[in-house]
Amino acid sequence: MQKTDKTVREPLVHITKRPDMPLFPALLIRLCAILLALIICALIIFWLTGLNPLAVYKAMFEGSFSSTRKIWNFLQNTAMLLCIALAVTPAFRMRFWNLGAEGQVLVGGLASAAVMFYVRDSWPSWLLILVMLISALAAGIVWAGVPALFKANFGTNETLFTLMMNYVAIQLVTFFIAVWVPTGSGVLGVLNQQSQNGWLPAVFNQRYGLNVLIVGILTVVMFIYLRYSKHGYEISVVGESENTARYIGVNVKGVIIRTVVLSGAVAGLAGFLLMAGAAHTVTAELAGGNGFTAVLVSWLAKFNPLTMILTSMLIVFLQKGSGEIAQAFRLSSNISEIMTGIILFFIIGCEFFIRYRINFRKKAEEEK
């Protein structure tokens, strides 16, 4: 075991944890990451299509903001994504990885659709909407509450549990559509198309107006709830340290269940809004993968509801914009997922440079 041949040197890089990075440099790093990601996306677009990336980005901008209709579509999409992100946030702040928002939204939408399907026009619209809302919330609560109960009592892995619940929900939706539509087409179609009974009324003369308004209010309420209410405080303490929570007499199980139930209820609300305020029908794609995207939105915003407005806008902007490019330059619209992916990779990756410091070996000592 002679070690004489081994050249003696310090390791090239040595990583240490940063004590804390001030806000401004941290923001700068994140901004750089987004910029870098956009440059790479531009290169990829150029390589694939030979188009001028700047023209492409201009088209992207137009995709979201070139007409009132587009702006409202943008707002609606942002509001829905934001609403789902708000749903997962309380659970995340408690370090409960609720990856089941997709399913919770779906069952919410399914429950409201079920009410509308069976009631049709026999109730006044306000009563119908109210019952739809309540059943959507209840469905979301059940879908999130079951994993929470098992997590609190048996420590069942919530990430995997909630993840599986998504697919149960998807199959449940296709099941009910199959029951409701005997022709086997698998498409439910818009409900109450004629009477618009149970449709959310237009606000600001816009069909999505109410959705945007509700989510806007919800964002502020959630921010206040998490930061200024006793419940929100308990959530933070449980998330930071269960030991501390027990030490000050918090009922940890109770808080977990209460918070995840809230999480499910908000997801159910998102399902209701998507169903009653936009689609007026239910499909397995009602949430359209936003249940997963919302995880990213919430995480990128460091679980702060106000910051989430920005992060959800960013994601929707990318999606809308790339959809526009796809149309304008006859590219597949799936480019949007690729770009979203790349930008996310960069933002996810840049957190490392905020949390850690990299020390390089001093050059002078390199040669012995």
Partner: protein, 524 residues
């Protein structure tokens, strides 16, 4: 002259603002046992972690057999034949002993756990261990786990062995066995470093002693040429008379009566066995004992954080005169009974405080439930935070600074300040001065004394016997989960308490089981 097996020169390591080691130098020859002596938090473990590749030093050099060595990872350490037995065992719970022992090894030939087990039995026989190589770690007792750790190092044929506080978890008999093993290894020409803060063990086993104090290297002595007094002085610095003002207890009344308390841990092992004592108002009751003898469980049981299997905890309320049984009550229920119990836990940032929250929000931990509003009332906690910062001279940029960014002493001031502000009738503090500098420590002593004088029943779990003797009125000594004595702090001596700490009613019983276990092993 022979070259040392391992030599450290001017090793420095910092964590953020904390200097864990500053220019430490020491050396060990082959066939020599070096004791690394120092109080808790003096940087012993950090230093050894750098030899075993867990941390990398900021500056300084390590020489193995006279040649400069780079130990950037535990793998490098193995290549230099360095083996470390950590204080916190590094074992994979769901693996068997044999699997843990071969973990990470690159042996010749096919992978055969049977062969490994055979070799493990061979080593066990050679050194007199008792171990079943196929037993899973999670089914093992603490001393069995340590045995696995030691066999692991022996299996790898390490030439330089580091043992981090190996005796802390062992019974005296087990300690003697361990020392016998160490002597055999020394005779086989191995260089051994044993980390400890127990003087009698240093004198018994080591050839040389290196002393660290607060991260600084103080010096190395030949064990045969030194004595306890000299080592103590090097370890704690100039013999300081603590000069803690201690008043006579006034108006002593029964406040907390613990009766026949039994507590089982998760593995079903008794960590507290038939513990009974009374804490009086207006006095400081010290609790002494080797770390991990059940002190934490005792305080947590009183605070409602531990399940009690047997016994009662009675609280005499000075205002109502009523007596409440705190058994099977949650912390919240205890508070709702009107019991004003404050608790400074050992794990400050993991239990007493939330590191990522600012000082104001940490004040809220105790008081956030106040009022019927659904919203938090931050006004009162804010002024409390500012009062504590001012009165206890907490060094912090502001009350809005996250607690984890404060130094250890300031963290503790925040915690103790909050607990005292709750105007308790019982105040429990576990190792409240651990890791604190002298000034902060005195701040804490004075606070505790002031509480005692205002009629609070103070329970103080400490590790420094000098402090216990000068600060407390009575000292309860725990040995292996049992009360081995309650002494008057004004007349007790360190030796007397030290003896009680290692005494155990179970000692005889343990010996009996052990010999039976031995027979059992022979029968197999």
């Amino acid at each position: 002259m022979a070259v040392p097996a391992i030599e450290l020169k001017n090793i420095t390591k910092t964590f953020g603002h904390i200097v864990a080691n500053h220019k430490v130098s020491l050396s060990v020859m082959k066939g020599e046992i070096l004791a690394l002596l120092g109080e808790n938090g003096s940087g012993k473990t950090t230093l050894m972690n750098m030899i075993s590749g867990i941390y990398y030093p900021d500056s300084g050099e390590i020489l193995i057999d006279g040649e400069e060595a780079v130990i950037a990872s535990p793998k490098d350490a193995f290549d230099y034949r360095i083996g470390m037995i950590h204080q916190h065992f590094k074992l994979v719970d769901i693996f068997t002993a044999a699997e843990n022992i071969v973990l990470g090894l690159k042996e010749e030939g096919p992978f055969d756990l049977e062969k490994v087990s055979a070799r493990v039995r061979e080593i066990s026989e050679q050194f007199g261990f008792e171990i079943d190589p196929k037993k899973k770690i999670y089914e093992m007792s603490v001393s069995e786990k340590q045995t696995v750790e030691i066999i692991k190092v022996l299996y790898r044929g390490a030439d330089i062995l580091i043992l981090d506080e190996p005796t802390a978890v062992l019974t005296p008999q087990e300690t003697q066995k361990l020392f016998a093993v160490l002597r055999r290894m020394k005779d086989a020409g191995k260089a051994i470093i044993i980390i400890t803060h127990k003087l009698h063990e240093v004198l018994e086993i080591s050839d040389k002693v290196a002393v660290l104090r607060k991260g600084e290297y103080i010096g190395t002595l030949v064990t045969a040429e030194t004595n306890e007094t000299e080592l103590t002085e090097m370890m704690v610095g100039k013999k300081i008379s603590l000069n803690i003002d201690r008043s006579e207890p006034k108006n002593r009344q029964e406040r907390l009566v613990v009766k026949d308390l039994d507590i089982m841990n998760r593995d079903g092992i008794k960590v507290l066995d038939d513990v009974s004592f009374t804490a009086y108002s207006g006095e400081i009751l010290g609790i002494a004992g080797i770390a991990g003898s059940g002190q934490r469980e005792l305080l947590e049981a009183i605070a409602g954080l531990q399940n009690i299997s047997e016994g009662d905890i009675f609280y005499h309320d000075p205002r109502t005169g009523k007596t409440e049984d705190l058994k099977d009550k949650t912390p919240l229920q205890i508070r709702e009974l009107g019991v004003r119990l404050s608790f400074v836990p050992e794990d400050r940032l993991g239990m007493g405080l939330v590191g990522n929250m600012d000082i104001v929000d940490n004040m809220l931990l105790r008081s956030y439930r106040k009022g019927h509003s659904v919203f938090l009332q931050r006004g009162e906690p804010r002024s409390l935070a500012e009062r504590i910062i001012k009165q206890l001279e907490v060094v912090t940029p502001s009350a809005a600074t996250p607690v984890r960014r404060l130094s250890g002493g300031n963290v503790q001031k925040v915690l103790v300040g909050r607990e005292i502000a709750a105007a308790p009738t019982v105040l429990m503090a576990a190792y409240p001065v651990r890791g604190l500098d002298i000034n902060s420590s005195y701040t804490i002593y004075n606070l505790l004394n002031a509480q005692k004088e205002s009629g609070v029943a103070v329970i103080f779990v400490g590790e420094d016997l000098d402090v216990l003797i000068e600060l407390c009125d009575r000292i309860l000594v725990i040995g292996s989960g049992q009360v081995t004595g309650i002494v008057d702090a004004r007349t007790a001596t360190k030796e007397e308490i030290g003896l009680l700490m290692v005494k155990s009613h179970k000692a005889a019983a343990a010996k009996e089981t052990e010999s039976r276990g031995g027979n059992h092993a022979e029968n197999r």
